[in-house]
Point group: C2
Chain length 445, copies 2
């Protein structure tokens, strides 16, 4: 059984609704229908845990938001724009019922909108679509991983912020490295999305300034069909360029690398953008022969004291209504957890998948033994626990804190010195999304 | 007073709600806030008229949908993603109330969703954002002017269709022209959006294959600030390239051309993509000195019998509740129509603008004389009537017809030979958006 990639948008609510993450529908179904079959995203689950960890830490803090409990809901974007928008719609509608022209059919009561901020998404393309929608309602969105230059456009993305630098520096550094080693003959590959295209475009500009020649420029995608992949591989194989610069996420690059491994095309030096340099989908032992000579970019790591212990404490019994934990456990130990509650859509979809034979993957899921619950998380090696530095996880942690500090600003606001008309303050009990300003926090940091 | 650019999305409904176009809010206000001040878009109003003309023709046809009346609503996107999404949300919400998680606050009655298809938008960036949302609900969207390659991605844009070819051919043709004239030294400029970027990228690929050298590549936008514009103009002025290839819409290019005119940079040959080659915003007499040597691309024109007469018949008294007509009349004759009804948001915003002094533009609007209603539309020269060929207007006409023919397919469906399970047919009285398939119509055409 294959599962979700990417996490969030994780949505923060100020009124203490806690621990009710759920899945819109099963990602695996989306995948199977498209013929995509990735491994489980253990890193993504760690990022989700970093979000929960940060929220719990804030909720237990005597200094930060002392009399307030942050609630949250987690949606799985399945790394697709459509799932992400479906999730976003389901909570923005509540925030702006009056602007939806529903008077003719609906009788709606007054209520305080619950969503005050969104954490996510992972990929720039998904974040862009979500940001277009959230911007309408001035709901702050803080991404921990979307680094596309395009998201810096404040005219279009009014309420988008991030804790990751934009890719312009990375593309420049790639050109610097190539210049340093005097590789003046390279090929480029980019994901055909809002991450890959602007990234490689910037690299190209920088390359031109340094008189680096580009032998070929190809676009790829997780949806590329067999023929398209073959075509790109032919170009790589027939090129005399030994250095290949790739701006792509792991999922978009994986089909290409798989084919390159199959044809055993070795002797190339790969220059990896951050998204795939640290992707567990690409760092597979069977790929090393081909991508062993890769120079990759990584973000600056950060410290989250107590996080390792938190990760070790994960257990499906402790989070009975968290479908993500259940799925993580099943994937880690290759077993299945009988569904205890009908309220968990994740389990529901799991069993549905069983029935429909969709969950079978390569035939293993359907024949998994039941989990005992005594499995030991420290006994297995997955990218969940097996990390050397916290990079994206740290960015997730920062994203949550930036929102908490923005709320704290409202909480400690002195009338006359506030951000609103005549220096007035927002009412922390009735705070609305547009009043929350992680920007000032992120700027201060 | 400055007004709307671009039209739609125009939304088709099968239940005969007619003649209720209205504006979400005033575009001019959006513009003023951003410091943008374009002329009124007379061509855009003609496109809107082409849509209404097509619908009326269909409603009067004894053969096409004989027992059915198409209704429509027209929204002004103001050429911005945010306005377009706001409009889209206001009707998709009605189509999918149950998926919006509103149960806690709202009591909604059963109803048949009224929106079965959308015509629009103009620009590719706006269409992309709208398509992301409409795709979730499988609402067919047919654009008449969005030509970006990116919109051909069926994995992302499931229900997007168009009556304009995508830009790949145009970019290739640009390179062919340059090769033909042996101009091997050119500069490129592109709008920094989903129209300009992929367009110029394709040109660049084609140029490389033909050994055409590119001296500079710059990005522009309608939101570029003074400094950015100056920088691009410096690059153009300092370059020895005499040929400049530009992939941009009129609004995105206008600030740059204005500055080039101010500096009197002449002697360049411009290669214009379709969007600005035929933009009335760029074809201004005061610009001719500078852009006189432009080679532009235009679409194949089509015939719409009776359309010229229809255009001449426009009069605010005949469309009292159509705010677009009122505004068009005021702009054409530089007068103002006193508001007759408070139900017309366009007029409301017009007067509001007056009060706030926003409508003053360069000071003329506030001092306009009242319109008499006896003004003669054939006595003035504007791009509304003064056209040589119908290109985009014809595409609008085709877009409406593709939807009507898709409905006709449902109407004339023979049980057992239908498109649905076991050859069943959709119920024309309860037809839903996902059952309407302009794709098969467009493919047949």
């Amino acid at each position: 059984m294959r599962s979700w990639e990417g996490t969030e948008p994780g949505q923060l609510t100020p009124n203490g609704q806690q621990d009710i993450p759920y899945r819109m529908t099963s990602c695996e179904k989306t995948r199977k229908l498209r013929g995509i079959d990735w491994g489980y995203n253990f890193r993504g689950f760690r990022w989700l845990q970093a979000m929960i960890f940060a929220i719990e830490e804030i909720n237990n803090s005597p200094n930060l938001l002392p009399n307030m409990t942050l609630g949250y809901r987690i949606f799985d974007t399945c790394n697709t724009v459509s799932k992400a928008l479906e999730a976003t719609l389901s909570f923005v509608a509540q925030n702006k019922i009056d602007s939806l022209n529903l008077d003719e059919f609906c009788n709606c009561s007054e209520h305080i909108p619950s969503t005050i901020a969104v954490v996510g998404a992972t990929g720039s393309g998904v974040s862009t679509a979500v940001a277009n929608l959230l911007g309408l309602f001035y709901i702050p969105q803080v991404s921990y991983a979307s680094s596309s230059r395009l998201l810096s456009n404040k005219n279009q993305f009014k309420s988008f912020l991030r804790t990751i630098p934009n890719d312009e520096h990375q593309a420049t550094a790639m050109a610097d490295i190539i210049e340093y080693f005097r590789w003046n003959w390279v090929g480029t590959i980019a994901a055909d999305d809002d991450y890959g295209r602007p990234g490689i475009e910037k690299f190209r500009e920088e390359a031109e300034e340094r008189d680096i020649c580009i032998d070929f420029s190809e676009l790829i995608s997780q949806y590329s069909d067999e023929e398209e992949i073959q075509q790109v591989v032919e170009v790589i194989q027939n090129s005399t360029a030994r250095v290949i610069v790739v701006f792509s996420s792991g999922p978009d690059l994986e089909p290409l690398i798989r084919e390159i491994v199959r044809r055993n095309i070795t002797g190339k030096i790969w220059l990896a953008s951050e998204a795939w340099a640290s992707s567990s989908l690409i760092a597979m032992p069977e790929f090393f022969r081909v991508i062993g000579s890769t120079i990759g970019f990584a973000l600056k790591a950060g410290q989250i004291p107590g996080f390792r212990e938190f990760l070790q404490k994960v257990h499906p019994k402790k989070s009975a209504n968290n479908g993500f934990v259940k799925e993580f456990w099943e994937e880690t130990f290759n077993c299945y957890l009988p569904s205890e509650s009908k309220n968990s859509p994740a389990s529901a979809s799991f069993h549905k998948a069983h029935e429909e034979g969709l969950g079978a993957g390569n035939g293993t899921a359907a024949f998994r033994p039941p989990c005992t619950g005594d499995e030991n998380i420290t006994s297995v090696e997955t990218p969940y626990m097996d990390f050397t530095h916290l990079r994206i996880s740290y960015n997730v942690y920062l994203a949550v804190y930036s929102i908490a500090h923005a709320l704290q600003d409202i909480y400690t606001c002195t009338p006359g010195k506030g951000l609103f008309t005549n220096g007035s303050c927002a009412d922390i009990k009735k705070v609305e999304a547009w009043q929350v300003s992680p920007l000032s926090v992120l700027k201060r940091a």
